[in-house]
Symmetry: C2
Subunit: 363 residues, 2 copies
Amino acid sequence: MEIPSQVQVKHNFSAGPSILPGEVFAKASQAVKDFDGSGLSILEISHRSSAWTEVMEEAESLVRELLSVGDDFAVLFLTGGASTQFFMTAMNLLDSERSAGYVDTGTWSAKAIKEAQAFGQLLELASSKSDGYRYIPKDFDIPNDLNYVHITSNNTVYGTQYHKLPSTEVPLVLDASSDIFGRSIPWERIQAVYAGAQKNMGPAGVTLVIIRKSALGKVHRHIPTMLDYRTHIPKGSMFNTPPVFPIYVSMLNMRWLKKQGGVTEMSHRNAAKAKLLYEEIDRNALFRGTVDPQDRSTMNANFLLTKSELESDFLALCDQMGIVGIKGHRSVGGFRASMYNAMDIASVQVLVDAMRYLEDHKG
Amino acid sequence: MEIPSQVQVKHNFSAGPSILPGEVFAKASQAVKDFDGSGLSILEISHRSSAWTEVMEEAESLVRELLSVGDDFAVLFLTGGASTQFFMTAMNLLDSERSAGYVDTGTWSAKAIKEAQAFGQLLELASSKSDGYRYIPKDFDIPNDLNYVHITSNNTVYGTQYHKLPSTEVPLVLDASSDIFGRSIPWERIQAVYAGAQKNMGPAGVTLVIIRKSALGKVHRHIPTMLDYRTHIPKGSMFNTPPVFPIYVSMLNMRWLKKQGGVTEMSHRNAAKAKLLYEEIDRNALFRGTVDPQDRSTMNANFLLTKSELESDFLALCDQMGIVGIKGHRSVGGFRASMYNAMDIASVQVLVDAMRYLEDHKG
């Protein structure tokens, strides 16, 4: 198979940590040398300095503006990733007299269930596990007396996404790690939203938590100070030293996002990128998608080769064309193309070109 | 008062986040643009890539080499800062049948005591609180049946440091946040050492934990997966996405440290810097130190003006001379000069020059 000549540009389809805009990398790189002409690196400035306080305030204000978050919610920048939020949400929100409902749509919701069940009664409302998590369960019953309903709005590993949230009067807790800033959020239905930064928000090392303030203070268990959301709210996420650089880069990324037109524009672009790739997956006889079409994620597209013996050819071709991070999660195999906000549709076109090239030469 | 002409070089005496070597900033800045010629930013590479795994392995190996850590200890890179370790050490190590001993030498040990007491019986072995934490308590009794003894090896806020660890058969848990890599550690006496990175190890956003493996698994309470040290040991601190960039910069800083001659060389340099500054504090009638001389920290020197009306003059002079981060902690006032490993003695000399200039013009 003749392969196109080596290119320098990389098209990063990694699932997270993942692509961020080039101008964010450029500005972040400069700040590591000299932060805004201060003569100091962003890595050595005091988190109590006014220069830093301004960054924190801008970061919070950009989250509020981009996602239309009202004053009834606190916006926090914490650490420990979604894996920490799996238990921290239950520890802070789940009282011992009621139950919380969980929907199992893959690896991450299963982990959320495992961690939360130490803090109260859980009701597994639905699961697509026995069908290899290839769809989002629908039309299941949700009792009205639940404390909250937890869902993983986008499943990074399996490539499924809720395009419509479950119908219920019960407030929702969303793990939105892989589609935050890619969709609007119906705040009137929300108790809490959390997201590890390293997909659509920024680099690894910071976790966004948006929590309804009136939902806090209703459980009676002991909560260590650092694990109590109420510790961080009056301190503006600076009860202790925050992860300065990950927050700074997230702020730069949100500035970029705002300049591009915000979440509405991103949801249009993400839909267009997903359409381009899924149409090729469906058209090209060498490939097939792994999840039910109506539940396909706009963020992570999972697909297989119909002739698995072509896998090494396809990976070599991708490598030659600058396509990075296309291998599927180690637990599911195949391929996965993550197309977060910062990815231009031109990069998706390169992947589609690679798929067509393979078809032309090996199909 | 005539003030020397404006200089460009900054001398960063901040208590943390704090100074790191210039060559670390240069290399880190480059990696944000292009990590080791990969065509990708360090911020967008997968934490499962071999390029990243090599960084993690080098970081762990440098900790082991620089601090002479044996195989009976695990070296972990976690998040949440020392504030999270305050409860996590007790949660993992303190069993309900025994007590742990704590020494109260300031803000951080008091917080460690507050968080740990939810997990078992604590015995406050000694405190210098009633004397404004101006010394390290000595010659107190330590019962032999304690689970462990917790001390804060260096007190960043008050500027005191244990130059000799307490004598006891009981294993020690050290909060070494502000003097890690500045002193050798007697591992045969240690149960655990923890340190927020943002003083002597790297930028904010990662926490070093070195824990004796045989001390784990002896408590019977429920521990959430992310809070159980045993989760992270077999996963090489990658059970979930690690704080990539803070770990990378810490690794670069440890490379630098090794090249300089390691911890022994640092302890000599730190002693020389401290001697230079404390001798000026003692000699110059305009200044006085705030802690007992034998317990003075080599990392953080706290001092006051004897004529407090000169404070704004001194701060203006420091500003003109490029001296940054010299104001004392908001809870104690006065001045604090933090002289971590990356600070050259030439910067301490600039501070001494400023103190002499003030004496010559206002004394």
